[in-house]
């Protein structure tokens, strides 16, 4: 492979120890060199040689047997998001590989580093419509950062080196390597593994250009109403401290995107809440009032911006991002700072003046007060006996102290959790943001627990999404994993129902979903649990769950037709956010 550049001095340093290894064993040796600890996978015909080799590596590599390949890849995503390391997936050819596609798309849009290995039919059978043959490379091209098919075992070390490098460097993303069965079996002389450090056609990080930092600092120093909005880039770049230093010196209020949440503690004095469709009132309205908008490691998703031609038109925009394709993609910038925010933020911090912007902060507080009255108070004190989702999250905050990792699914419960959850630590909010994949929470929570075993990991799902991947309860049972599960059960596909209520004249078209008895279901997987219907039983139930040394499920019945507010209706400007 001519694109693979390995530094010559590295090569000579490497001891010329060669061993005869099968392609499968070589793959696992590469994993050990890359410090892989956990693999999420599911065996099948075309990946059997790799699983056979894995039999001898059980002491060194933990393999988690999932119940569906989608579960494997979501688990790997959860692992990567909680640990900051690259998630590893094994799946077989054909259906095994196609079952990864949702997770790949999810990891692609949420920039999650993954290396997925799929088995493939023998090279001589490629293109013959062989049993379980599918064109994995072409199916996955749009949803991978890079993919490659290996038909010869000698390619394995170099291709895998490239895969690990690409997955984690620059803007991270999923990489898929398809290995034909003959290459898995083929023996070859395996030399010392040399990690990849450079690919000539790939530039993960640009040179930081001082000039633009200076221009940005000038704008920031002159600003009367500067506003920082930040995304997952802060965490992916491990720049939490650098980011905190920047906002603390410049005194600028900061709001997070759903994926940026937990990069700074939610109770940080400069934190003003969440942006976007169900974000907080102040950050949305004041986006259209600030004079300088400083976007850090975020990509101006339409759920954040609302109607683009009415988004922050009055403001000068400074955009810090590692991916040049994001700059000027949706929002035109005045100054673009292309670079790794771990490098750019400290340089910018040096150049900005120390300020406090007290009057400007007060505006956020005023809006917060309105939101408290009109949205938050009613959510926390419903005038019915039926629980609201907000009450549950609030009670959970109290018991966890904001120290748990919350893994959410997609829908109303996700928005409510992200609105009300408290976080002290980075990488605590794991959710499917860009793709909005229902069924994400349970398998991702499994992965998160493997990625952060010392932390409390709680999956929060709705009754709809939970049923999309609930077979992964089997994975929890088999691995004896201490994952907590909360189902916020409103007996509806709640978010779609909310839209049907607000925008389709309450024509509830196929959102009335029936569920099994989740507690009994969990029980059949030997997972303890209880159903909560009364407000008075909530705290005790949450405590029982958290006190349990094992997995535990709570099926919490919440208001059937509760809505999530505030809301920026689709096609509206962020300043047209509705409180009810």
């Amino acid at each position: 492979m001519e694109t693979l550049e390995i530094k010559k001095d590295n090569k000579s340093k490497a001891k010329q120890k060669t061993r005869k290894l099968s392609g499968s064993a070589a793959l696992l040796e590469v994993f050990l060199s890359e410090k892989v600890e956990t693999i999420f996978g599911y065996p099948g015909g075309a990946i059997m040689p790799i699983y056979d080799a894995l039999y001898d590596y059980q002491q060194k590599l933990k393999h988690v047997l999932v119940r569906h390949e989608q579960g494997a890849i979501h688990a790997a995503q959860g692992y990567a998001r909680a640990s900051g390391k690259t998630g590893i997936v094994f799946a077989t050819s054909g259906p095994g590989a196609t079952n990864l596609v949702t997770g790949l798309a999810d990891a692609m849009i949420d920039s999650t580093p993954l290396v997925c290995i799929t088995g493939q039919v023998y090279a001589h059978l490629l293109g013959t419509d062989a049993f379980q043959e599918t064109d994995v490379i072409n199916i996955t091209t749009p949803v991978t950062k890079w993919n490659y098919q290996i038909t010869d075992a000698t390619e394995i070390p170099n291709v895998l080196a490239k895969a690990f490098y690409l997955a984690a460097s620059g803007r991270p993303g999923p990489v898929l390597i398809d290995i034909t069965k003959n290459a898995q079996i083929q023996e070859f002389d395996f030399e010392e593994y040399i990690p990849c450090e450079h690919i000539r056609s790939y530039r993960p990080k640009p040179i930081v250009r001082k000039k633009y930092l200076e221009e940005a600092a000038k704008l920031i120093n002159e600003a009367k109403k500067p506003f920082v909005i930040f995304g997952q880039g802060v965490m992916l770049g491990e720049a939490e401290t650098e980011f905190k230093n920047f906002i603390e010196k410049s005194g600028i209020p900061a709001a997070w995107t759903i994926l940026g949440m937990s990069a700074i503690p939610t109770d940080h004095p400069l934190a003003v809440g969440m942006l976007g469709m169900h974000g907080n009132y102040g950050p949305n309205v004041l986006t259209n009032e600030c004079d300088i908008l400083i976007a850090v490691g975020m990509r101006f998703d339409d759920r954040v911006t609302g109607r683009l031609d009415k988004y922050a038109k009055q403001a000068k925009v400074i955009h810090l991002d590692i991916d040049p394709a994001e700059i000027d993609k949706n929002v035109k910038t005045t100054v673009s700072i292309w670079g790794d925010c771990k490098e750019t933020l400290p340089l910018l911090t040096q150049l900005v003046d120390k300020k406090s912007h007290t009057a400007w902060h007060q505006k956020f507080k005023d809006f917060q007060k309105q939101e408290d009255e009109k949205c938050i108070y009613p959510e926390m004190h419903p005038d019915t006996n039926v629980l609201s989702m907000g009450e549950v999250i609030d009670a959970l905050n109290e018991l966890t102290g904001g120290n748990a990792v919350l893994v959410t699914d997609v829908g109303q419960h996700q928005m409510v959790t992200c609105r009300y959850a408290k976080f002290n630590e980075s990488k605590s909010n794991i959710t499917s943001g860009g793709l909005g994949t229902m069924g994400f929470a349970l398998p991702a929570a499994i992965g998160a627990k493997f990625g952060a075993p010392q932390r409390e990991v709680i999956a929060i799902a709705g009754d709809g999404g939970f049923q999309m991947t609930l077979q992964e309860l089997g994975t929890i049972m088999q691995s004896g994993l201490n994952v907590k599960i909360i189902v916020l059960n409103n007996q509806f596909l709640g978010m779609v129902r909310q839209w049907q209520e607000l925008f389709n004249d309450r024509r509830y078209s196929f959102v009335d979903i029936q569920s099994p008895d989740f507690v009994e279901l969990a029980k059949s997987y030997r997972i303890a649990g209880q159903k909560v219907t009364e407000r008075s039983a909530l705290k005790k139930a949450l405590k029982d769950m958290l006190d349990s040394p094992e997995a535990y499920l709570l099926d919490i019945m919440v208001g059937k037709e509760n809505n999530v507010f505030p809301m920026v209706p689709q096609g509206c400007s962020v300043s047209e956010i509705r409180l009810s």
Binding site: E2, T3, E5, K7, I137, N138, T141, P142, K145, W146, N147, Y148, Q149, L166, E197, H198, I199, R200, S201, Y202, R203, P206, I207, R209, Y212, D323, P324, A325, D328, K329, S336, W338
Partner: protein
């Protein structure tokens, strides 16, 4: 902004699957590719794509960034027609009888800079290269006599201002890039982002 013809030149590694990776950047956005050519470049082992589309400059700019984002792409440039030298090649198959009887072949060949590639008893194949209007012109001239087959190649183009890719590639090969590949050069001249 109005749509106009742009020629995108992409320097890439020679890698199976890359054609698809580049093509889907257009199809995903429902953008029609007018023509696409892949060929070797001035540098051994480096491939060169020439893609013609009709789009606004802003869209083309974004497309080029998406193309450059692909791991095996070294660089993407876009140019308007006055910034490039370009040619297309066309072949025309006509009945030899018809041509011999009714056409002043010599004049035709001169006028359109064409030549006869094959002359057989039953048919003749003409070839010409040039811009779209020129290859279209010969087609029009031959049409009354019955064109049995017609085919036109994708555009190939040379960028007027380009000094080739040799120097840039040297920079790309270094772990720490120098001035030539400060790819955020577009920050300097925002409006002419990927032009050389």
């Amino acid at each position: 902004m109005i749509k106009q013809e742009f020629t995108i030149t992409v320097y890439t590694e020679n890698q199976i699957g890359l054609l698809n990776r580049i093509a889907i950047i257009f199809s995903r956005r429902k953008i029609n590719i007018e023509s696409m050519n892949t060929s070797p470049s001035e540098i051994d082992g480096i491939h060169r794509f020439t893609i013609v589309i009709n789009e606004t400059e802003e869209v083309v700019k974004k497309l080029c960034r998406q193309i450059e984002k692909q791991v095996e792409v070294l660089k993407a440039y876009f140019n308007q027609n006055d910034e490039i030298v370009w040619q297309e090649l066309a072949l025309y198959k006509v009945s030899t009888d018809q041509i011999v009887e009714k056409v002043k072949v010599e004049r035709l060949l001169r006028k359109y800079g064409a030549r006869a590639v094959v002359i057989r008893k039953d048919y003749t194949v003409f070839e010409t290269t040039g811009h779209r209007e020129e290859t279209d012109g010969l087609l029009e001239a031959l049409e009354p006599y019955g064109v049995i087959e017609f085919v036109r190649s994708a555009r190939v183009a040379i960028i007027n201002e380009s000094s080739g890719f040799h120097e840039k590639l040297k920079e790309f090969e270094q772990t720490e890039p120098g001035e030539l590949v400060i790819e955020n050069e577009y920050l300097d001249k925002k409006d002419e982002v990927f032009s050389m």
